[in-house]
């Protein structure tokens, strides 16, 4: 008997859904075990009936609910609450669902500022009032993670989450387990680069030049990116971006970790800890440009990123 699944994206980009497809050939083995009773990306089930004449949003009953994206408007909030009522286990898929994600950087601004910019202050836009219509849901006061609205049973962070973890978490549920989580390790714990616990010191370098490395050699011959003087979020970021066996993906591209899997454990303070990590290799963390957004790039929900009070004019 196939297990019924509801899947939908909220304030999302579709990357998590593509990552599900990136399970690859194994997908053909998993798919027959699942019955997607709602999945906007692939399945034609409609909220208001197949003839569009329903009056209330209808989410089918299911064992598993999978939700990607954070919560950005009233309709997403309503849909999420409906899904929660209809499913036994709810999975928050991806860093937007788990922490707010990149779009939660909008929490650094008042909602009115964003609307002012988008609809009245863009070079090609003919200025107009904010859209207002029963079919255009108003924004919630902030961009939220899913667990700010409803209870979440399993969180699979990542931008996107690696297909290994998606498959593993779903398989765990199919086997009757009720809990699953990524091991609490840092990206550095899975990163093969050379570390000597020191750097050249001074200010943190902006990413205006490439890392130093010999392309013919593996990562195990490259010096740690923080120790080369750049910001790499590896020390405070949960490992897992390359799945069960790979090396961290951004490092594979010879680029710094940007923190997409979020904090290593609940209650961690990645910004404070990252500043400590930079200090520990002799860098001046206060020199880092745009520090707040850089260090909280994916985790602006849960009140992490907020509107700062206006600075007094100098």
């Amino acid at each position: 008997m196939a297990v019924k699944v509801v899947e939908d994206w909220l304030n999302a980009c579709s990357g998590c859904e593509i990552s599900i497809l990136n399970i690859g050939d194994a997908l053909l083995g998993i798919l027959p075990q699942l019955e997607f009773v709602h999945m906007t990306a692939l399945i034609d089930h409609k909220f208001f009936g197949q003839l569009g004449d329903g009056t209330a949003m209808d989410i089918p009953e299911a064992v598993v609910g999978i939700v990607s994206g954070g919560v950005r408007n009233e309709e997403m909030k309503h849909e999420l609450e409906e899904i929660r009522k209809k499913v036994k286990f709810l999975i928050s898929l991806g860093s937007c669902a788990c922490y707010g994600g990149v779009p939660a950087q909008a929490n650094m601004f008042k909602n009115e500022e964003t609307f002012e910019k988008v609809f009245r202050q863009s070079v090609t836009t003919e200025p107009a009032p904010d859209p207002k219509d029963p079919n255009v849901p108003p924004w919630t006061s902030t961009c939220m993670a899913v667990d700010e609205v409803v209870k979440v049973d399993i969180a699979i962070p990542g931008c996107p989450p690696h297909p290994d973890w998606i498959a593993e978490a779903i398989t765990a549920l199919l086997e009757g387990k009720t809990a699953w989580s990524l091991p609490e390790r840092s990206v550095c714990d899975t990163c093969p680069v050379i570390r000597e616990q020191k750097s050249g010191g001074g200010p943190v370098k902006r990413w205006l030049q490439n890392m130093e490395f010999n392309p013919e050699e593996g990562l195990e011959k490259m010096r740690c990116i923080n120790e080369q003087g750049f910001l790499c979020m590896g020390p405070v970021t949960l490992a897992g971006c390359a799945g069960k066996t790979g090396v961290p993906r951004c490092i594979q591209a010879r680029t710094p970790c940007r923190g997409c899997f979020g904090p290593i454990r609940k209650g961690a303070r990645p910004m404070v800890e990252m500043m400590g990590a930079l200090t520990s290799v002799g860098l001046d963390p206060k020199s880092l440009v745009d520090r707040r957004a850089m260090m909280n790039r994916y985790i602006g929900g849960h009140g992490v990123l907020t509107v700062l009070p206006a600075r007094p004019a100098r």
């Binding site: 994206w9 304030n11 980009c13 579709s14 990357g15 998590c16 859904e17 593509i18 497809l21 990136n22 690859g24 050939d25 997908l27 798919l31 027959p32 990306a41 692939l42 399945i43 034609d44 409609k46 909220f47 208001f48 197949q50 003839l51 569009g52 950005r72 990149v102 779009p103 950087q105 601004f109 964003t114 910019k117 988008v118 609809f119 090609t124 836009t125 003919e126 107009a128 009032p129 859209p131 219509d133 079919n135 255009v136 931008c159 996107p160 902006r206 990413w207 205006l208 030049q209 490439n210 392309p215 013919e216 993906r249 951004c250 490092i251 591209a253 680029t255 940007r258 997409c260 745009d290």
Partner: protein
């Protein structure tokens, strides 16, 4: 007033949209609207961020076409910092883009669009999907799943990430391609090319002839087109000049920075998505018989504005297509045909680039220094011309940014096609789920 039909969510597309069809008392279509219900606000929250961080931030706009945003952003950043990446860096960017687009086009044709054609537009919704295809044609499905994933594997092997990449940086790319990387990739690229040839043949033999009546009727509108061409008029995804074509085929060519002279964006109170239009053609009108200012982007638009394809096999296919449908071709469902011709060009270019000796050059990035400037970077995203326009201060922090993304250009046209299809499929109060699906087919052609 009569009945209101809510098609929500519009499915097998990316994002949140609903269609509302209002019928009059006689049960005929009085009004239709395609509502886009979400807004994320990148235009605001990118303010204050360093220019060099933009390519790996704005890629999150779209998880299906992150490489398009990544590269348009890298080009805008190149322009802000006033640098030209070395030739090998440009070739590597193009290589990654082509591979990503091969995956994207396979995804759209087989996973999103094909259920309407292989299972059938009127089939029950519970089987009219990719799972239905797996049951109906397991051998093809196996290939499709494998080939779509293969593109992602190639990208990950070399550039670390397939989704939300970090590889392109202002002034170039983050790493060179080694000979070993090239040797690993080339045979896989050839597999993708073979599959691309197969896909086009499969569609020409089994899909398009069978649905020619649908092609000639569903969602048909006659409007203009926007796309990118090289100096000699070939279709190009990475770089060139913009070409804006009127419905009769006459066109203007212009440089990226001039886009503000040609394109305006109208706001309607009932959608978060704006309505870009060709402002030199007059005040925007979505009137089906006499539209003004409406143009389309994405594959059919590119195929129409280009004088030719950039690769030999794709060029042959374009000639056959033009012999059948003319230039510009206006039938909306021909987007699917155009998409497969583009798939072939992307696969051919992937192999060409991998055979280029310069692809393994280690000269891949020029030095950059922040400065106050404006930079406009464009690429052709799978869904249309993608415009990233940045301004930054002397420290290289973004002060202003304007984005017009592929599907947004199609807002007006999608609304028109929905209206046309609804009027075609709903008459005297008679319609069923198949009829409503045909309205959605008019949307899906645009791959929004």
């Amino acid at each position: 007033m009569g009945k209101v039909i809510n098609i929500q969510p519009v499915t097998r597309i990316e994002g949140h949209a609903k269609v509302v069809i209002t019928l009059d008392d006689a049960g005929n279509v009085a009004d239709t609207k395609f509502h886009v219900q979400t807004l994320r606000g990148f235009e605001k929250f990118c303010e204050g961020r360093p220019v060099e961080e933009m390519p790996r931030t704005v890629c999150h706009i779209c998880g299906i076409c992150p490489w398009a945003h990544h590269l348009a952003s890298a080009k805008a950043a190149d322009a802000c910092y006033g640098v030209t990446p070395p030739p090998a860096a440009v070739k590597l960017r193009r290589l990654m883009q082509n591979i990503a687009y091969v995956s994207d086009k396979i995804l759209h044709f087989y996973f999103l669009a094909a259920p309407d054609f292989v299972i059938g537009p009127d089939a029950d919704y519970s089987v009219r999907n990719v799972v239905g295809i797996i049951q109906a044609a397991p051998e093809i499905a196996k290939q499709v799943v494998h080939m779509r994933h293969l593109g992602a594997q190639i990208l990950e092997h070399f550039a670390g990430r397939a989704i939300h990449p970090t590889f392109a940086v202002p002034g170039g790319v983050s790493k060179p391609m080694t000979e070993a990387d090239r040797q690993y990739t080339l045979p896989l690229a050839k597999e993708l090319l073979e599959f691309s040839k197969f896909s086009l043949k499969f569609a020409k033999d089994n899909v398009f002839p069978k649905y020619i009546d649908a092609i000639k009727s569903i969602g048909v509108i006659k409007v203009g087109y926007l796309g990118t061409v090289t100096e000699d008029g070939a279709l190009d995804f990475y770089d060139g000049k913009l070409r804006l074509m009127k419905p009769d085929g006459a066109y203007d060519d212009f440089a990226y920075e001039q886009y503000v002279d040609y394109i305006g964006e109208w706001v309607e109170p009932w959608s978060y998505q704006k309505f870009p239009y060709a402002k030199k053609w007059g005040k925007l009108s979505l009137d089906l018989d006499n539209p003004v200012g409406v143009y389309r982007t994405n594959c059919l638009a590119r195929i129409n504005v280009a004088d030719k394809m950039a690769t030999p096999l794709a060029q042959k296919e374009l000639e056959e297509f033009r012999a059948a449908f003319g230039r510009p071709a206006h039938y909306t469902l021909l987007y699917h045909y155009a998409r497969l011709i583009e798939l072939l060009q992307c696969a051919e270019q992937t192999v060409e680039l991998l055979n280029d000796p310069e692809i393994t050059s280690t000269d891949i990035r020029v030095p950059i220094t922040p400065r106050a400037a404006r930079g406009v970077g464009c690429v052709e995203a799978p869904r249309g011309t993608l415009i990233h326009d940045y301004e930054c201060d002397a420290n290289g922090l973004i002060t202003k940014l304007n984005l017009i993304v592929g599907t947004t250009h199609n807002t007006a046209a999608i609304n028109m096609s929905v209206n046309q299809a609804a009027k075609l499929c709903i008459k005297d109060g008679k319609y069923d789920q198949g009829a409503l699906n045909k309205v959605e087919m008019a949307i899906r052609a645009y791959d929004p």
